[in-house]
Subunit: 364 residues, 2 copies
């Protein structure tokens, strides 16, 4: 079956009517519509997307841009596939399809996005890993492509974004550690210009200030977002002259490398050093002692992302009137055994152990 023309010939109907029948337009007899749908089903006819989108100026496709650098590959730990499910669940209701656009690691993300946008292969975009100032946001704004940024950015002052509550996480981690008697608390932060680093540190500083603990720059450890980053962070930690009693991690995978390096040096996490991790990544679930960290539902995040995006698309915003311009996505603290001791006495407090292999699938 080549196209709508052949289908129309076979039915001995004009192509206009066939098109109307297939697209649920009103001006068509019930019986005719039935015949058309039956024939389309029989021949497996589906409208050619190029022709369709050329005519109506929209593609019914949403793009999710991800960076496929090896660093991301190693470390994202299926973050994007997780949100994808949530996204699709809301897009499906509007017959929108989601495609993932992996930016090649050797290409400039800005140019890649520009190319994709100019080709008009998508109606709207979701971009991730936003930088502090991110030209992609200006690009999309100027091109009038509806979009949502996963990760806030200074460039996005006027556009939609949704971001994890990094400040809250740092804040609560510090509060929790201080409440346990810690005073010298190290924190890790990204070495690159991604915006989340600034926010993370802000939460950390503010929480310290609230308790009149002076901010000590030497306790900020710049790391790469990987297991190796965690390993090196532990290294730097061990080299500090006055060793901190606690450390707060960023990036889900850091904990693994950090644990390993600590163990190698005979420093036991949860006894000699309190550790609070970031996201509850699948790869980190096995750690012993179990890691205190934060958890979120990737699926729900995807749903919210999808809703927010549609709220910014003229054709769909009637369906999502309330959905605002940006969201700080909360994370829930999961108590493990990695921060249960008192730094002054060394005594271990009892708290329920985190269950790993319960029957319900643990959300990632």
């Amino acid at each position: 079956m080549k196209g709508i023309r052949q289908l129309a010939e076979h039915l001995d109907i004009s192509i206009g009517t066939v098109s109307r029948a297939l697209n649920g337009k009103p001006d068509v007899n019930d019986e005719t519509r039935r015949r058309v749908l039956a024939a389309a089903e029989e021949f497996g006819y589906v409208a050619n997307q190029s022709g369709r989108s050329l005519r109506q100026g929209e593609t019914k496709v949403i793009g999710l841009m991800i960076e496929s650098s090896m660093e991301t590959v190693e470390n994202a730990d299926n973050f994007f596939l997780g949100v994808t499910s949530g996204l699709q669940s809301v897009f499906a209701r509007h017959k929108l399809d989601l495609i993932m656009l992996p930016c090649p690691s050797d290409e400039d993300p800005h140019e890649y996005l520009q190319r994709m946008v100019a080709r008009r292969i998508v109606d709207a975009m979701i971009i991730s890993e936003t930088h502090r100032i991110d030209r992609r946001i200006d690009l999309l704004s100027r091109a009038k492509i509806p979009f949502v940024a996963l990760g806030r950015s200074l460039s996005a002052s006027n556009s939609a974004w949704i971001d994890l509550d990094f400040e809250g996480v740092a804040n609560r981690a510090v509060e929790r550690l201080i409440a346990r008697g810690h005073r010298r608390i190290a924190i890790t932060a990204p070495s690159s210009e991604v915006n989340l680093g600034y926010i993370f540190l802000d939460g950390y500083r503010r929480a310290l200030e609230r308790h009149d603990i002076p901010f000590d720059p030497s306790l900020v450890i710049r790391v790469k977002s990987s297991e190796q980053g965690g390993y090196q962070a532990a290294n730097e930690l061990l080299l500090l002259e006055e060793r901190p009693t606690a450390v707060i991690l960023i990036y889900e995978l850091m904990a693994i490398g950090l644990y390993r390096r600590l163990m190698e040096s005979g420093v036991m996490p949860g006894r000699d050093l309190a550790v609070i991790g970031f996201r509850d990544a699948p790869r980190a679930r096995f750690l012993q002692p179990s890691l205190s960290c934060f958890r979120m539902s990737l699926y729900d995040l995807g749903v919210e992302l999808g809703r927010m995006l549609l709220a910014n698309m003229p054709a769909y915003q009637d369906f999502y009137p309330g959905d605002g311009r940006n969201i700080i996505w909360p994370l829930e603290l999961i108590v493990g055994e990695s921060d249960l001791f008192d730094p002054r006495t060394g005594e271990k407090e009892f708290e329920p152990e985190r269950l790993i292999f319960d029957n319900k699938t643990v959300e990632s």
Copy 2:
């Protein structure tokens, strides 16, 4: 900048010439071409993909279909993002773009693919997780869409595929264990109809036969492809009346759950039970004792996949003449400590420990 028409008006040239200039066609003056390219650059003009592909019947886009079910999300461990890099490196040479098509978990993969194919949004496809008989293959064949299956299938007798060397892995694992004195060797296999299960078991059976060890169906443990699957596999293993001295795993993540369950029961991997894992997944790199398993380069696999696909596309096959119809992708054995004991004496043989945190990034 709306389209080529406005660009042509601005330059006071006909749109035909503009198009020829942009696409590197011969019949155009050097000076004119320079002006056109400069103007296009200035206004950020890129040809609308719908119009272009409508005219020339191709989209310059390759689709990689992946299943985004939660099971995959949890367990694939960035497998696809890994091969993506390799794919793009070869596609980039031909100005082809790769998009990932995540099939919603609640939609039938066959219908999803049919929809995508009929919409003609891609020129060619890579499909993964092929089943023993997979209707998607017939669909693509009939639609005359060039494709490569990642994973062999009975349905793909006549088409291109590339698959991991499951048979070889099972084979070498058994050989290695037998050489160490094991006679009672359990193996895990998928509970679903994916084709790799059959092949994996074939390799296992043949290796046993070669050494006159009878095949014992009770030693085949059906598992889900997850950590939980590994946990349950260990459970079943422990319940066997005459406990095997070794077990061969499938799926990269199984080892984690298996280790955990064994430890809980005081059965030490590498001392009380030899374990040989499958792929050298990032999440399994930390295991203690380190896991003997197999390794491959996802990047190289992606490259080979890309080459094979292009070899099946009329427009590109001149560039890849030699690339055949299918490949069995080899995996390299990485010796760990999980299978270094003699089941009769319990003595541990010395072999070099696997390095995890070397400087070069370990390929996943």
